[in-house]
Symmetry: C2
Subunit: 381 residues, 2 copies
């Protein structure tokens, strides 16, 4: 439409209050512009726009009308500079493309948005150095707080925390320790429940396909598995506890190794749903069936779990809710409350079609899985 009229739409619409054209990236109207148009001082405009009671209702209305007409939008950056609070938080994840991280991010974003906060997204790609850089970058952006999800360098945050002096909340992170605030799932309980479920179904030879060893989440889930075995008087066999990397590809290989054992397992407890997905593929590829030949459990209850064939018995994490809780904790921290600390979220076993009685191998059965779920531990959502 108009070509050289760099004067922004607002000013043009108002009758060309712009004295001279700007070469700058098209300045948005400021309170000073509005003040000039309304024939008042900028502070008055500022007050009017904040619905301050200190301003005459009539002038306030007039100012708001003018601001509206001018397409005025307050600058959060200028406000942030003077108030020293940007109403911005940083979210560090390995990658949002990961379904778990996506769900958590969704919960965080929701809660943040509800409170007028914006969320900076930072992917660390599971690289510690990169992760550190991202946190630094967030600090430069002057975020009011930071949430780190599924980090593998959680312990490194303690010194950072002190240095950056920015409130932080960790979600399912590595060694949150005593000094930081966190939201964690009850890994041991969840994993134990899954394993107990398999034991109840008569399984004795139960394998575990984990994440890379050494991480807290992995260690805790493995521990839950061991606890359940011990409680049932089943001896832990090191050959049955193998490692993947939390992704299906590695799980295929790990599971295949288990199936090649002289005495292969009849059930497998997986670190997470992605791992379970890979394990199921490995089982099917060998011509075996789930759950008739091998029962499988996951962890997370990602959206696809109930749509796998058979649908996956898994341990549910309320991922969105956890994100929301993390954000709410962070909000408290940012407002000065130093009370909240470590939040432990209970995990819930969701029994579906991928687990069945040990030795229950009714020959050729085509309709595996489906909605065949026992009543126990059904999801409440």
């Amino acid at each position: 439409m108009l070509e050289k009229e760099r004067g922004n739409a607002a000013q043009v619409a108002l009758g060309g209050a712009g004295e001279r054209a700007r070469r700058q990236p098209l300045r948005q109207p400021s309170i000073k512009d509005i003040a000039r148009l309304a024939r008042v001082s900028h502070p008055t405009v500022s007050r009017a726009l904040q619905n301050s009671p200190l301003v005459n209702p009539a002038t306030a209305a007039k100012i708001r009308k003018i601001a509206e007409a001018a397409g005025y939008r307050p600058s959060a950056v200028a406000r942030g500079l003077v108030t020293r609070r940007t109403r911005t938080v940083g979210l560090v994840v390995t990658t949002v493309a990961d379904p778990f991280a996506g769900e958590v991010a969704c919960g965080i974003e929701q809660a943040a948005n509800d409170h007028g906060y914006a969320v900076f997204l930072a992917n660390s790609n599971a690289d510690a150095e990169c992760e550190r850089k991202m946190v630094q970058a967030l600090a430069e952006r002057r975020v009011d707080g930071i949430i780190v999800t599924s980090s593998r360098v959680g312990s490194d945050y303690l010194p950072m925390l002190a240095e950056l002096n920015v409130p932080m909340v960790l979600v399912n992170d590595q060694y949150p320790g005593e000094f930081v605030h966190s939201v964690m799932i009850a890994n041991e309980n969840g994993s134990r429940a899954a394993t107990e479920h398999l034991i109840e179904l008569g399984h004795r030879r139960i394998a575990y396909v984990g994440d890379r060893s050494g991480y807290q989440t992995e260690t805790e889930r493995l521990e839950g598995y061991k606890q359940a075995l011990a409680a049932a008087g089943i001896e832990y066999a090191a050959e049955l506890a193998v490692h993947g990397d939390g992704r299906p590809e590695a799980a295929v290989a790990a599971m295949d190794g288990l199936l090649k054992l002289a005495d292969p397992p009849t059930a497998v407890c997986c670190y997470n749903d992605m791992t379970a997905m890979g394990a199921m593929r490995a089982i099917r590829t060998r011509g075996l069936r789930v759950p008739e030949d091998v029962s499988v459990t996951g962890f997370d209850d990602l959206f696809f779990a109930k749509y796998l064939e058979p649908s996956l018995t898994t341990v549910r994490q309320p991922m969105r809710r956890m994100g929301q809780m993390a954000m709410e904790n962070l909000l408290k921290l940012m407002s000065g409350e130093d009370s909240v600390a470590q939040v432990k979220v209970e995990a819930e076993l969701v029994v579906r079609g991928s687990t069945g009685r040990a030795g229950a191998n009714p020959g050729l059965k085509v309709e595996t899985g489906g909605t065949r779920a026992s009543g126990a531990g059904r999801r409440n959502g």
Copy 2:
């Protein structure tokens, strides 16, 4: 000039220059603080930190050392205020928990990060009003650009674009029209390829399970399906084209309706992988098998597609790459280049186990799917 020596961590660490404690949110050191410590003026510090050649290497080194020791971090907000460029972009998605959006977001974040930009995440929850609000909020944050993914109100952005005067790039959006910049997948081609594949396998009675009707992406994919039918001389049957909502739950119901037809389809072309996942569930629930009884195709090639049983034949979208392209286009737009416009990305058929010859029903066959993929259209990644 300033009599009140605001104490801060840096100064304290450097020898306790802070006279008295502050109740403020603990100010970070500024260039002025560094200047005082280095006994130079702030502009000199500013220049030194920007590696300006206008500053004496010796003093520059000294300044950098002091800044480092003081834990100085430049304030992006102050810089943004003066430069009028925040090096920040907004990303609007329905929800990052959606795998497609997550992948695109990942690509965007990557590219943004590579260029020193930070990404604001904004979930619209598929609500037009909310989406509009998020864009306004981003404008107040003074983002340099905005990317909108899978919006259903794409056309509404034209007026917004003019009003906000912020460069925008849309990814797989609704009616991008002539005036906005976009990255779109070749929906018709992709859908046509999938349908042609089914036709080549001998199918004649091919159904289509779409998204809610009226959206451009949906319309185009349906169109591709129709084109393939027409080219093969198969008459389009309205009863075989049904609607879901892009999510598995709705697809289960839609597919079930198709299976209840007097003359049910032997193949179904689905709007996306989520829909295909639901369709497969509906098929199995009825005691039918994929692909022996019904062949299924998806669209997207989400991470789980190859792990479904049978693995899903689908049309691949290079999602991360598309996000990256969108960001790169946005970078150009933000730097003033007004050249880039509508980018169309080719879709690639990936043949896997969920599609098979029509009428090829070899009785009870347990090992469905797996890695049984024909050579045609294999992914190159």
